[in-house]
Symmetry: C2
Subunit: 769 residues, 2 copies
């Protein structure tokens, strides 16, 4: 089985897409899969996690650091670039096992010379500031080569430029470019070192004053390999009292103490651990196997392994799209992967919500509510980066008022739910004590303050919200939202009970701090009387929101035939989906996945069948949910189509690139997380919670087996599911026994023990030991 | 002073406008001000009050009866029409004192002959089925005249054709055209008689089989006046067991017993009474004098004098625009005129809501509410004629979802308020006992069922409504709507108290019928805790709805400069006013007018000044309200501009003709009623209620005096207001004394007595006896 994404040719049309597809990163820096000679026009980017900037009234977005990878060869006066030079061969590859990018090109000059370039690079998982690169070349005929390499300060920006007062410095052979951001005046430095390898002699070096690009001239002979190793260091802000330039210089010097190979080895140790923790083996389906591994790769390169102050943006670190903002995607679509495989990363992700609680409090207050209303688009401070006019109308070119920011209140429930899931899954109370409990209580208080009571019907209702289906804004009693509000109230009361039992003094202090004396009673009252839309007694369909069933029941195909412009937005005040039952993405069906134990197979099936043909899948968050619930109701072959769509999204580039006039391309971490969920929670049918791990597999036809490891409550298990058998093995290092259940048979698995269940794959929900 | 609207020429561009301007009618039939030779292309229409039809999925609208006035001369083979024949002279006039239309044209034929035509017509106020017409002509040179006259069945329809199975009959010289409507199969008959007058001999008559148009041939000599009198009878449905054709035939025969002059005299008796009851004399301002009289004329020709099953449509009887539907316009903008001058008509108008209560109940139930939710666009049954897609987007040509029907809940308050006002003003309890109390209770119940309670703030709120400013749909706590809901609750409780005191058995039966046992308590609870937006402590401005103050504060001129299409709709989901503070029409300011005693001058002034520059006056209902409140705050000169705009709207034709792609031309009864309000309630400053009639005048500069009569509690008074004096005279036929108050002086005026107050016109609100 290959672990490589490869491209054997160069296609100008694929530059943007391959920038995403061949991306490398380490959770702190994302480096797009572009070639060394590329510039901002080809969307080169070194996107930094957690550093944002705003220019004028433009959207606040992450900064792209100056491009330290930039390198270009000139052969006898002819610059070489795949963009405008003939070549005999070009190939590029991404090794997802090692998280390294590889390139090989044989250029043919106008003078008939052939220049072969090979390069590789990785963003170190050990030294998070480091991009390491090796660049080698050889010539077919003797010639003069000029090599430009350095830091290209003219970077791709959507709403920039963000860096000002650029200054270039040089010390001990290290060249640096230091600049400051526009809004918060944060100093950013990119430094680089160049070490020549191979060749006949050290080339002649020069640099224009004020330029961060060095020029090397050398006379090249055939049969010799020339090249250099380059370390690019990216630092910003102060580190232990040192400026970014001082830090960059000192870590550049330290990096130079180690060879490229040593840096690579350190990097690979981390990656080996990642794959050991998370790899999934699929027997019988090479396409699915690769796509799933690729999805996990994409998650690994953007996961914050060493910071709880950043989370994962909706487009990962693939650029500035969606303002580099963190959405509900993290909790709902990525968190399960990390929870089941690397709970330490999951902890960082949920702690991000603790660190942004004050922003959520400010947002609630701004709208006149109490508690915490999390940002729909969250950046460093937790203040909402989402604008009120988030889309441009293609017909009038006017900004369109959308209610993502104001009305997607479920975001606070998602945040609380994520924290609680982490606690419930790991048993790690520290996250509650370090702020998680406070988040949960504040979110519940927000919902109490948001909800209304209907005397006539003696119930609380949640009005004027936007659910996952963003095409229907400002609806009442969205079933999904109400279910999550209900869950938040329940979690808050459980949190209070847990603190009372285990940390009474902490609880007392927290109640006092939050002035929460009356609130617990309010939450209990609301929980008892909160309206939860129920399945229709005849059809079992749960109405997505009040009045959904009165909307026009048009077929998706027919709706699309009404489009007048391929980029027109289907929702909002005058979108053509708004007045119909066509939904953007899984909404009720997502609720049925999240609360799968609370709904009968009949209800899940009825709703899947009802909503599936009405779903446009206008969001990359949709397909995986339909895959999950299709597996749950025993239709893995229905699920398979959606699984593949989710798992291949960044390989095929087959996703929406524009909404209105807004570019939304980039990687799709939520879909990547969804691919893992569809495989493990869907096909393998794992559901861990409330002390037991349930197993209810339903493999697609072509899959012979699936094997993977999970962590639950800090203990490790290997699980292998074939068409007729489930085998679970508890790690020998585990400390306690764990209950597993499949069908009617529960087993308590002691450390080192294993157990197998025989099941009838055709008879979902009727499993036998 | 002239009582005539005149036009001394013919302008093709003004055909549609003059059709409105020269309209005649009697409340049952409206006949547009078109010429006899006109056909549907010139929008001829005999619009019938209360008869509606729907074809397919098109909008339901009133039917236009076949045109019995149709008449055309042909001179020596040349048909004569202002549309394509040369003429030496053309004049047309509307006599508003007599409600008659007059025409005089001198045609010049291609052969050099001159044919003079004079005609007049009126829609009888005595015999409501009758249009009477006199048509005379003379020739300059001997010639052969062919006269076509009869019933033109090919009529103007917006969403027709509505009449099917047309059959033509003839009996005793009366020709009839009978047809049936499409939806309800109602039989409609137009019959006509022709009686020759003048001339030398009876002309030769012929008629093609199946045609309802007769042809008369005659040899005409100069110096002789030829002519005929025509009675057109329009009947529909069954009358005392008789079909419409039988009824039409019998009343045609009866009409023929009387001469044209006798019919006219009977008609004039009614009109003399109308003017006696309602005329307003303005000294010093001929333009205002005429415009105001013309406004009253427009109201008189459409007022239902003899039916409580119809009310006044938004475009009167000027055609099918706005579906011939009754809006809140009636209660809020027309009712005061009738209340103060002809309470018997006011009674019909409010009883219309009693007869359409079941439709309002159906609408409430359809939306899941209890009680009565009146139709935003009400026709014969009270079911809502308003469509969910009421406007077409000019950019995409798509139907636009609007929330007029769903969310303008204040309509139920308007209906209840109208009934209560009628009762309070006349003391006529019968309207309460004959269904009015039931309407009020059901409307209050609707609001209880509509409202939500906010525990956090311990108050009821009225969410998701559209107030008068339709550019801002689906807002929360619209101050106007909340005030009217509050009033409705109050009225309902007052109604219950009144019934308890005076009609306990009736009350008991009503409570039982409506199962209203719990409701009174609910209403009381809600009335105590209903949120009423208050003036800002600093600015005194009352926020139009929650969050209005956060909207973009753009200048009206700037907003209009953003328009890309002159007919684009400014509101709705993506209108350019929607996201700004620009309002369509008086909203908060209307509330300050309706509840003028409850707000200080300071608050009224602050809000007038705040909202006035932000109001687009995109509705003809807006200007009069700004006039009223400007008078109230002592700025009659600010008011005067708005008064003139209101009073001249149908004379100048200066109003919006299109919203999106929808034609909205026609007459403007609400503005006509608004003109009366601006004059009497505004400048003269009359405010009758709670047993006292207050007088607080503020005349515009150029007005020397205003004089008029009013009726209150069945007693009549004449009021004369000059710049420094108010004189009130109680009619000698009155039965009881009535309290009047101006400034600090109250006077009880016995029958036949009069009183005068001296006031300082410069010092509003500081009056002296």
């Amino acid at each position: 089985m290959s672990w490589k994404v490869e491209e054997q040719s160069f296609d100008r049309e694929k530059i943007a897409m391959n920038g995403n597809k061949f991306m490398i990163g380490n959770g702190a820096i994302g480096y797009r899969g572009t070639l060394e000679e590329f510039t901002k026009d080809q969307l080169t980017a070194s996107t930094l996690a957690g550093l944002y900037d705003k220019v004028g009234e433009q959207w606040r977005e992450p900064i792209n650091a100056p491009n330290g990878v930039y390198t270009r060869l000139t052969c006898d006066g002819q610059p070489l670039s795949v963009l405008d030079t003939e070549f005999d061969r070009h190939a590029q590859a991404l090794d997802i096992a090692q998280a390294s990018f590889h390139r090989n090109t044989v250029f043919r000059t106008s003078g008939g010379n052939r220049i072969e370039i090979s390069s590789e690079r990785f963003v170190s998982m050990e030294q998070l500031n480091l991009i390491a690169m090796k660049y080698e070349f050889s010539v077919a005929q003797a010639c003069e080569i000029v090599l430009d390499t350095g830091i290209d300060g003219d970077v791709w920006d959507i709403n920039g430029p963000h860096l000002e007062n650029k200054s270039v410095w040089s010390e001990d052979g290290i060249v640096g470019l230091t600049a400051t951001t526009h809004e918060l005046r944060v100093e950013v430095t990119v430094a680089e070192s160049v070490t020549w390898i191979g060749g006949l002699s050290r080339p002649e070096e020069s640099r224009q004053p004020g330029s961060a690009i060095r020029q090397f001239k050398l006379r090249c002979e055939p049969g010799v390999t020339y090249g250099f190793v380059k370390y690019v260091l990216i630092c910003y802000g102060e580190t232990e009292g040192q400026s970014s330039s001082a830090t960059a210089l000192s870590i550049a010097k330290a990096a130079l103490q180690l060879t490229y190979e040593t840096h690579l080895q350190e990097h690979l140790v981390h990656w080996a651990r990642k794959w050991e923790a998370s790899d999934v083996l699929i027997e019988g389906d090479d396409e699915a196997q690769f796509a799933l591994r690729y999805s996990l790769y994409q998650l690994h390169i953007i996961a914050p392994t060493q910071s709880e102050r950043v989370s994962i943006p909706a487009r990962g670190l693939s650029g500035q799209v969606y303002k580099g903002a963190v959405f509900w995607d993290t909790e709902m679509f990525m968190l399960p992967f990390f929870l089941y495989t690397q709970p330490e990363v999951a902890r960082n992700l949920v702690m991000y919500r603790v660190h942004t609680l004050d922003g959520a409090r400010r947002k609630a207050a701004e709208y006149g509510y109490r508690g915490a209303f999390y940002a729909w688009e969250s950046q460093d401070t937790g203040d909402d980066a989402c604008t009120l006019f988030n889309i441009t109308d293609v017909f009038t070119n006017r900004p369109m008022r959308t209610y993502f920011r104001d009305k997607q209140v479920h975001i606070s429930a998602d945040a609380a739910f994520g924290i609680w899931q982490y606690y419930a899954f790991t048993g790690d109370e520290s996250v509650l004590l370090e702020g998680g409990a406070e988040v949960i209580l504040e979110c519940a208080r927000f919902f109490y303050s948001y909800a209304y009571y209907k005397h006539d019907k003696q119930r609380f209702e949640v009005l004027d919200v936007t659910g996952p289906d963003e095409y229907h804004e400002r609806v009442n009693n969205n079933a999904f939202t109400n279910a999550l509000v209900n869950k938040t109230l329940d979690i808050a009361l459980q949190t209070l009970a847990l603190l009372e039992e285990r940390h009474p003094a902490f609880r007392e202090a927290l109640i006092a701090k939050l002035d929460y004396g009356q609130d617990a009673g309010n939450l209990r009252h609301m929980l008892l009387q909160l309206y939860m839309p129920q399945p229709d007694p005849v059809t079992s369909v749960i109405e997505q929101f009040d009045g959904y069933g009165q909307l026009e029941d048009v077929e998706l195909k027919q709706l699309k035939s009404r489009m007048l412009n391929k980029n027109e937005y289907l929702g909002g005040g005058s979108g053509i989906a708004t007045t119909t039952r066509i939904l953007k993405q899984a909404d009720v069906v997502l609720m049925l996945h999240l609360f799968k134990q609370q709904y009968s197979q009949k209800v899940k099936r009825a709703n899947w069948e009802y909503y599936e043909p009405r779903t446009e899948h206008g969001s990359s968050l949709s397909a995986c949910i339909y895959a999950l619930v299709a597996s749950d109701i025993g239709n893995p072959d229905w699920a398979y189509r959606y699984f593949l769509r989710t798992a291949t999204i960044d390989l095929t580039g087959d996703s929406k690139q524009y909404v209105g006039t807004l570019y939304i391309g980039g990687t799709h971490p939520a879909a990547n997380g969804g691919a893992w969920m569809a495989a493990i929670l869907g096909f393998a049918g794992i559901d861990a919670g409330e002390g037991v791990i349930r197993l209810q597999p339903a493999l697609p036809d072509q899959w012979k087996s699936i094997q993977f490891g999970i962590v639950y409550q800090g203990e490790r298990y290997r699980i292998a599911v074939s068409k007729s058998e489930i085998v679970v093995s508890a790690d020998g290092g585990n400390k306690t026994a764990q209950s597993f259940q499949s069908g009617s048979e529960s087993v308590s698995l002691a450390p080192g023990a294993s157990h197998s269940w025989i099941y009838d794959s055709a008879k979902r929900g009727a499993l036998h030991a």
